[in-house]
Amino acid sequence: MNALIPVLVAAPLAGAALLLLGGRRLDAFGHWLGVVASTASFVAGAVLFFDMLGRSTADRPVHQHLFSWVPVGGFRADVGFQLDQLSITFVLLITGVGSLIHLYSVGYMAHDERRRRFFGYLNLFLAAMLLLVLADNYLLLYVGWEGVGLASYLLIGFWQHKPSAATAAKKAFLVNRVGDVGLSIAIMLMFTQFGSFAFGPVFGTAHTASEGKLTAIGLMLLLAACGKSAQVPLQSWLGDAMEGPTPVSALIHAATMVTAGVYLITRSAAIFNLAPDAQLVVVCVGAVTLMFGAIVGCAKDDIKKALAGSTMSQIGYMVLAAGLGPIGYAFAIMHLVTHGFFKAGLFLGAGSVMHGMDDEVNMRHYGGLRKYMPVTFVTFGLGYLAIIGFPGLSGFWSKDRIIEAAFAKGGTEGWILGGVALLGAAITAFYMTRVMIMTFFGEKRWQPNAEGHEPHPHESPSVMTLPMVVLAIGSVFAGGLFALNNAFLHWLEPITGHSEGNAPLGSLTISGLTLLCVAVGVAWSWAVYGRQPVPAVAPVGSALTRAARRDLLQDDFNHAVLVRPGEYLTRGLVYGDTKGLDGFVNGLAATIGGLSSRMRRMQNGFVRSYALSMFGGAAVLVATTLLMRSV
């Protein structure tokens, strides 16, 4: 059975290789090849899952060593896979949602002449993401980690004739690279501390290291997580990443890749549990990002950017939960999975709307679409109810547990974190209701496109709506299923551990408060966007709104602090290198004077003169050896 583990990675990798190297002859059916490769990986994952389910808890984790990768002295990096409850959960999410989005893309990208390449990149992404979650050591995880970054780069910039897309792709890779440096420093620290960076030895020996060293490792891992998961201060790339085709936004920038940071923190539980200072920073990052993303999400008129703000905010919830330690790990992952369903569904819905509206993304130019796109409306609506935490739907179960866990942290911290999480729930309800109303309700505010055609919204083909329906079903039921008898918690507990903490409020009280917050958010949003017509041109807005539209000035900040000084430094150095260091040598050459012009005459392409010069050189060498006799 273990022989199936490499198949998980190999199937999409083979698909990618075929699609990218196969050339034009695969154009006709390449997209279906991509779907098959992805589905094969999902089937293998499902088989492995049921196999694991059949074993007792102690026997569930399996490990497979494939080959020795980089052996140098005490440095031993291997290629090996670890399949346990945590990684199989990710495998099912990645390949399941991944296969649905492959299918959706068959329709969405139908008219793109480079569709084969698109599926090649998608398959490459799956392979890298699966490697990331299956690796049994941090260096191999790093390969997957940058591999998904590459796939993300290629897919954000897929329409690279658009300068904005090319710029966004580069920005995403660069910001992620900053985070990746954190991962590499963490690995180096592990190597100096433990002589290893494989999960087993590191986690088994972590308690022998000093808290200071563990805190350093934890903070470096957090830096990596911030880059990949778009957490403050490395959040600036995610909004721009929406330049990519919408299926990419759904798969990579909502459901899977951006959650890799949460995986990394949860997987490194053994380190974080022993480094409370690092955990404190983790929860702070999570709480700040939760609010940051939510505020940005309230101000965006671009439907995808509003959803991107929401993604940041929801991952903020997960990071917060993971920072709480054993109180929160399992719920972070549970929210990650339910979020994977409903956010992927919401993005696919947004893509379907754009598909029907001539690629219009401005929600102020939507309105009243529920009648024209009934399936999209219903599936998007269910995703909407799930994300705001409507009782009984997926988001309700997972978000509620995170808010509870935040309170259960105890003390002042618990109150602050719980308060932020509650406030976040209210704002989530506000901005998602805003998206819902502006898109599907109210009057039509449709605008003619560049060529002057009025949009004719229509429902998308079934190859696109089918994945949306499946994801909507997941958005409705997954959370309840996971919460039933705490099934999800018991499933992950052997890997992540669990403790109850000490909540100052009862669980029912917290649920009640959460629902109250959600209701206030919805009502407020309805009061602003539902009771009065939405203007087709955005009003000026308050200072906060204007800042939020500019992503709370993140790019202005980065420009002023990093980009501009960097440009000056580079320009100064270029000038200095040619005029300063080089000028010295030029002076030297000038004093030698005629030498250079004489030498120029020798570069005439005549073999004869070359041979003569070589002979001359040899003569000089011989003369030198002879001279040495007298030394």
Partner: protein, 552 residues
């Protein structure tokens, strides 16, 4: 006496150079191809011989293998002695792999504009003969176990390189380019000659010390590397500290000019920028490697105490070079100069790995030499294809190439990703080893060097974005995609980048014993982990309890 494999391997390209140069002037289009084909054939034979050499090398055997020695100048104890260790063998193989690909890539670069002019008649012969001459000299440098023999060829390769740089440019730029080119060639020669002269003084000084210690066979001096190294480690040859430092600096200066180490780097952007892409690859991927190789073999082996003494200072220079080179690469407007500055940054990594004096650092540095050779060749040769199509080296003259030449753009991207050390490709392995190896001994320097990782992503992706993406510029709209010959150049390089990224173990296994020997030369051992994990196998992993403690 067994078959003199090493001598023959180095002699084949030398003979090839003579034969190619002697071929008659072309009279028709068909005979114009003859010198190229002949030269390529000689380089192919060299590749086969180098492969045989690698296959016959036993990583577990003696330090220097396949040794040959012929008396050359007896009175000075100079001999023509060849032998390979694990470091030399992989670099010799790298050279033999790259040269045929460089020739294939440069196929039309030396075609005379007017084949009937007196000047144009023998131009092709000259270019290809010079490449073979460089190959022969570089091979002797990698294989030599005699200090003087090494010195002679280390210096002699300047001559063909000078003519390659000065005599043959890419077809971008007019008469001004010719002036720039000869300036670049003179600059290259001056820098390296000065370095070489300083080294010559040190070589002579070393000889005098060996003579004083009666190391030579006749009680006189010797240039035999193994004899001197053994005498140093056994205490038979003991330097006065000041003398050892002076000799070390003499050797190191020459190698640091060639490698090149900041701030001795300024000749490289000119030389790589003005010469053809093929010559640029020869400079950075082959000739410069002799410099870093010689640091490992000669500086560390001959002067262990001085090497340790100067290591911190050299590490600082190398880390400055990593960041300086990368920042300058970011600021370049010329594609080839950008790649040259990127190389300066990478040479910083190599030198850092060597002088960190850890197993990971030095094995990483050796792998880095190999991987940098392959990745720079891929990036630079594709850049050359791009430049010759447009007739310009300026980044601003390109835009949207991806749309018209997707294969060219794709291979350029792979070369770029290798340059930024993307995991999965070969350079990642070596760069990470160098970083880890430095970090274990000098954590601060290791951390500062990681800034280079971010900057590498910046200069590569900005280059790709400006040349390949965006709307298609009018001037590139008719650009043809890669031809079969060009694909044949790039495909093996990309295959090697993948292979050595995914399974570098065979090369690491060859290099590791040689590095262990070098570490012993300098009396250094790796620092032990602070809290070693008891059993490194997976099976010691017991599931964690909820509070992160561990079942003892």
């Amino acid at each position: 006496m067994s078959f003199p494999l090493l001598t023959v391997t180095a002699a084949v390209p030398a003979v090839g150079a003579v034969v190619t140069a002697a071929l008659p002037a072309a009279t028709s289009a068909a005979t114009r191809r003859t010198p190229k084909t002949v030269a390529l054939a000689f380089s192919a034979v060299t590749l086969v011989l180098a492969a045989v050499m690698t296959a016959r090398f036993d990583p577990g055997g003696k330090r220097y293998q396949l040794t040959e020695s012929y008396t050359w100048i007896k009175s000075f104890g100079i001999s023509f002695s060849l032998g390979v260790d694990g470091i030399g063998v992989v670099l010799a193989l790298l050279t033999a792999v790259l040269v045929p690909l460089v020739m294939l890539a440069s196929w039309g670069d030396a075609d005379p504009e007017d084949p009937h002019s007196f000047e144009g008649r023998r131009r092709t012969q000259g270019f290809f003969a010079l490449i073979l001459a460089v190959e022969a000299m570089v091979l002797v440098s990698f294989l030599s176990t005699d200090v003087f023999l090494f010195y002679v060829f280390f210096e002699a390769m300047l001559i063909p390189m000078y003519f390659l740089i000065g005599g043959f440019g890419d077809r971008a730029g007019g008469p001004e380019a010719a002036r720039q080119r000869s300036y670049a060639a003179v600059k290259f020669l001056l820098y390296n000659l000065v370095g070489g002269l300083v080294m010559l003084a040190a070589v002579i000084g070393l000889y005098m010390l060996t003579a004083r210690a009666h190391l030579g066979s006749g009680g006189g001096g010797t240039f035999d590397l193994a004899t001197i190294t053994n005498a140093v480690s056994s205490g038979k040859l003991s330097y006065a500290p000041a003398a050892e430092k002076a000799l070390f600096l003499g050797f190191f200066f020459a190698f640091a000019v060639k490698a090149p180490l900041w701030p001795l780097h300024t000749w490289l952007p000119n030389a790589m920028g003005e010469s053809t892409a093929g010559t640029a690859v020869l400079i950075t991927a082959v000739v410069d490697k002799v410099g870093t190789f010689a640091m490992l073999r000669f500086c560390l082996g001959l002067f262990p105490d001085a090497s340790r003494y100067f290591a911190p200072a050299i590490l600082v220079l190398s880390v400055v070079g990593i960041i300086y080179g990368a920042l300058l690469a970011v600021g370049q407007k010329d594609i080839k100069r950008l790649i040259a500055y990127a190389s300066i940054s990478h040479f910083g990594f190599i030198i850092m790995g060597i002088f960190a004096m850890t197993t990971q650092g030095q094995s990483g540095a050796t792998l880095y030499m190999v991987n940098h050779g392959i990745s720079t060749a891929a990036l630079m040769l594709v850049a050359g294809f791009l430049i010759s199509r447009r007739g310009s080296r300026l980044i601003a003259d390109f835009g949207g190439v991806q749309k018209v030449a997707p294969v060219l753009a794709g291979t350029f991207l792979v070369g770029g990703l290798a340059t930024l050390s993307l995991p999965g490709l070969a350079p990642f392995v070596s760069e990470f080893l160098v970083l880890v190896g430095t970090f274990t001994r000098y954590p601060a320097i290791g951390i500062v060097a990681t800034v280079g990782i971010v900057l590498a992503a910046l200069y590569v992706l900005v280059l790709y974005q400006r040349t390949m993406t965006g709307p298609v510029k009018e001037s590139v709209s008719k650009m043809p995609d890669l031809r079969v010959r060009e694909v044949a150049v790039v495909a093996p390089l990309i295959a090697l980048l993948l292979l050595l990224g995914i399974y570098p173990k065979p090369v690491a296994d060859i290099v590791n014993p040689a590095v262990t020997a070098t570490m012993a030369d300098v009396h250094r051992t790796d620092s032990k982990p602070a809290h070693p994990a008891a059993d490194q196998s997976w099976f010691s992993y017991t599931s964690l309890d909820s509070h992160g403690g561990e079942a003892k």
